[in-house]
């Protein structure tokens, strides 16, 4: 390839957009590495502590879009203290200093201070897009620096003017504070909308506003994505029917007011749906309607409407089986349910061999198959055996070491595995570490895995992004051992109750351990209760 001028190679590389492919390209030879790095515009960093902003900038001076992820996934469920880390400020500071032409910043589980937002808004002339997912640390003052017009309370008049002046506005999401007649006016001014989030949808079906709203909605022929309905008058949903036929994404997961027949009627209009996020008050019957109507469905997420409830069965294995039978394109699932059976999982595995993401959460974390009283090993075993492209798996229910034997044997493409309250012994963890060659993220809580499993193959952790273990059997000594043997890993012990301070015995069990590979050694911004071994 030496005889191709650089410009030609660069042009060829322009067609290579996936991060994985670009990474591979850069490893071919020195000259490709050089050309790739100068032409790279988009960079994805899965763990903000694996590399420093300075090194990033040094390698990719043409950087335009950066994606950063901070806290470990279990932070979403309050298992990680708020100030653990993941601060974006040093990144923005470094990028600003180096005059990088940043246009887009995408952050997930990072701490974003108002100061960072202000600096961001002042430093990059061509900045276009800020995406924050599960971030924290900022207030509306900070956001005000980014979005020039919105300050404090929603100024409806200003919002209307803003929408009028934005002929390219594609996405509009409103909260509860926006009244219906404003919504109607906004929709009249933005019929080109593609993504609409309605906050409050409560009104009198006989009112003039409602009639106007019906007309406005009908004009919005481009809407493909609908969400919100935080407050909803179910008898007014018929105004939405005209646009349902075009929807590819419907998110009703914040709308507990919508259920029963009204919900089913709405769904019956959504024949082109590809992604559906819903609450479990849809019930198995409602999922049956989904199965009959949404033949294009690829992703289904069913959230619990009553997480700590008395166990009134909202959805069970029946709903899932119905959807698997009716929606052959289903490849991504997040399903909170009251119970699951092996038979159902085996049927689902047969019906849908294309799962990429399979996340099952039985609300009682150690519940067995209620019909046979057996653990769910066979059911999940069927899933991993049938779904050869499975990349992400979350387990729940009563599970023994056996399920991990299956996972190690069959889940060849598995990249992320979440385990809670499962297994009988170290063998479980070992099956996974030895078997899943493509494993990148492993997160474990409340399992009987100890030092023997942790230390069996420490080299494996260098091939992964991170490992989280909380309330397991690993000891301080075991963690120290990993840190000693693998200087390329940061092994963090999160010790909120400061047990470690008074008892530095190596045999002490570690409550929370988070280890990850890194090129830049120990981070300097860890709070007091985090020890990096």
């Amino acid at each position: 390839m030496n005889y191709f001028p650089d410009e030609v190679l660069e042009h060829v590389f322009d067609f290579i957009t996936s991060h994985k492919d670009r990474n591979s390209v850069s490893l071919v030879c020195k000259s490709w590495y050089k050309i790739e790095r100068y032409s790279r515009q988009r960079v994805f960093i899965g763990n903000c502590y694996s590399i420093s902003p300075e090194r990033l900038i040094a390698r990719f001076p043409g950087l335009k879009s950066l994606t950063l992820k901070g806290k470990p996934h279990f932070a979403d469920f309050n298992l990680v203290p708020h100030d653990w880390g993941g601060f974006v400020y040093p990144w923005i500071k470094a990028l600003a200093k180096s005059r990088i032409g940043l246009e887009e910043l995408r952050l997930k589980r990072m701490v974003v201070s108002d100061e960072s937002l202000e600096l961001l808004s002042k430093s990059f002339v061509n900045f276009k897009s800020l995406v924050l997912v599960s971030c924290e640390g900022f207030t509306t003052d900070g956001l005000a620096a980014i979005a020039a017009n919105c300050r404090g309370e929603v100024n409806l008049g200003a919002l209307e003017r803003l929408v009028s002046r934005s002929p390219n506005l594609k996405s509009l999401r409103l909260n509860r504070a926006v009244p219906l007649d404003t919504l109607q006016k906004l929709l009249m001014r933005a019929p080109q909308l593609v993504d609409l989030g309605i906050g409050s949808y409560v009104h009198d079906p006989f009112s003039e506003v409602y009639n106007k709203l019906k007309i406005a909605i009908q004009r919005c022929k481009s809407i493909r994505s609908l969400s919100g309905f935080l407050e909803v008058a179910p008898h007014c949903m018929s105004a939405i029917y005209p646009i349902c036929g075009n929807l590819t994404f419907l998110n009703l997961s914040y709308a507990p007011g919508l259920h029963g027949n009204k919900l089913m009627k709405l769904i019956q209009h959504c024949r082109k749906l590809q992604r559906l996020w819903i609450l479990d008050c849809i019930g198995d019957k409602g999922l049956g309607v989904v199965a009959l109507t949404c033949k294009e469905l690829q992703e289904l997420r069913v959230f619990p409407s009553d997480p700590f409830g008395a166990g009134n069965a909202a959805v069970t294995e029946e709903g899932l089986v119905l959807v698997s039978a009716g929606c052959p394109k289903l490849n991504s699932l997040l399903y909170f349910c009251q119970q699951m059976t092996n038979a159902a999982l085996i049927t689902v595995a047969k019906n849908c061999p294309n799962f990429i993401r399979f996340r099952l959460c039985i609300l009682d974390p150690i519940k067995p198959d209620p019909v046979t009283n057996q653990p769910l090993d066979e059911g999940f075993g069927a899933i991993v055996q049938s779904c050869k492209g499975l990349k992400r798996l979350s387990l729940s229910g009563l599970l023994t070491d056996q399920v991990f034997l299956y996972i190690g044997m069959y889940a060849e493409q598995l990249e992320m595995l979440s385990i809670a309250f499962a297994a009988d012994s170290d063998k479980g963890m070992l099956y996974v570490l030895n078997g899943c060659k493509k494993l990148r993220k492993l997160e474990i809580r409340d399992c009987p895995f100890g030092d023997a499993a942790l230390l069996e193959d420490v080299g494996k952790y260098e091939t992964m992004r991170s490992l989280w273990m909380s309330s397991c059997e690993v000891t301080l000594g075991g963690c120290k051992s990993v840190a000693e043997k693998m200087p390329s890993l940061n092994v963090e012990i999160i010790d909120e109750c400061e047990q470690m301070e008074f008892n530095l015995d190596d045999k002490q069990k570690v409550d929370k351990m988070y280890l990850y590979r890194t090129l830049v050694g120990h981070r300097k911004d860890a709070p007091e209760y985090v020890s990096i071994l």
């Binding site: 309050n78 179910p234 166990g311 150690i366």
Partner: protein
């Protein structure tokens, strides 16, 4: 292994027993109670609460010596379970509060001189002006503005409501939320009666 043995031996007669009562109450979940500590080994983790992060462990602990009749530990006691984001939990809780009063709050509305009554859903409105405008539209009349001193003086019509005590009150005196929770029916009075309410 202990866990599995328990489940295999338990014929689960309770689940098939016919009885009156809501699911999830009382003792129809014997399996969880007879289940010893999930990680049945050396570590004695204290029972934790979601609020206090000073407790170390997040495991479910049910010691084998627990009384069979004690209720199963509330699921709230396991930190981070079920795995949903706090934002979702909060959203559902606040929606629940709003829905406690029930879906829709239809009250009868009578207008002096009108041949029949109507019904409106009070939950649809956020404020007095909204409600009054809706009433004006519905009955094709003008109610006018409310003032604390004069009521709806100057207008031909005055909106009144029957409260929980059975008394007829002028609409607008109390905060909206209080009105919503105490209003049983509405009556739009006309003429001299209306003006009478305005001057105390």
């Amino acid at each position: 292994m202990e866990r599995r043995v328990n489940y295999e031996n338990d014929l689960n007669l309770m689940a098939t027993e016919l009885r009156l009562g809501l699911p999830g109450c009382g003792d129809d979940e014997p399996q969880r109670k007879t289940n010893p500590s999930i990680r049945n080994n050396k570590r004695t983790a204290p029972e934790i609460s979601e609020v206090s992060s000073s407790e170390s462990s997040s495991s479910i602990t049910m010691s084998g010596s627990d009384d069979q009749d004690s209720p199963p530990p509330a699921k709230e006691h396991v930190v981070g379970w079920p795995p949903i984001r706090s934002y979702r939990k909060n959203c559902l809780q606040s929606s629940k509060r709003n829905e406690v009063e029930g879906m829709g709050m239809y009250v009868k509305v009578s207008v002096d001189g009108a041949p029949y009554l109507r019904k409106i859903d009070l939950k649809v409105y956020r404020s007095y002006p909204q409600l009054l405008k809706a009433l004006e539209n519905m009955f094709k009349l003008t109610i006018g503005a409310y003032s604390k001193r004069e009521g709806y003086n100057g207008s031909d019509y005055a909106p009144t409501y029957e409260d929980k005590d059975g008394d007829w009150m002028l609409v607008g005196d109390v905060p909206w939320e209080m009105f919503i929770s105490s209003c049983k029916r509405l009556r739009i009075t006309k003429g001299s009666e209306a003006r009478g309410l305005g001057c105390v």
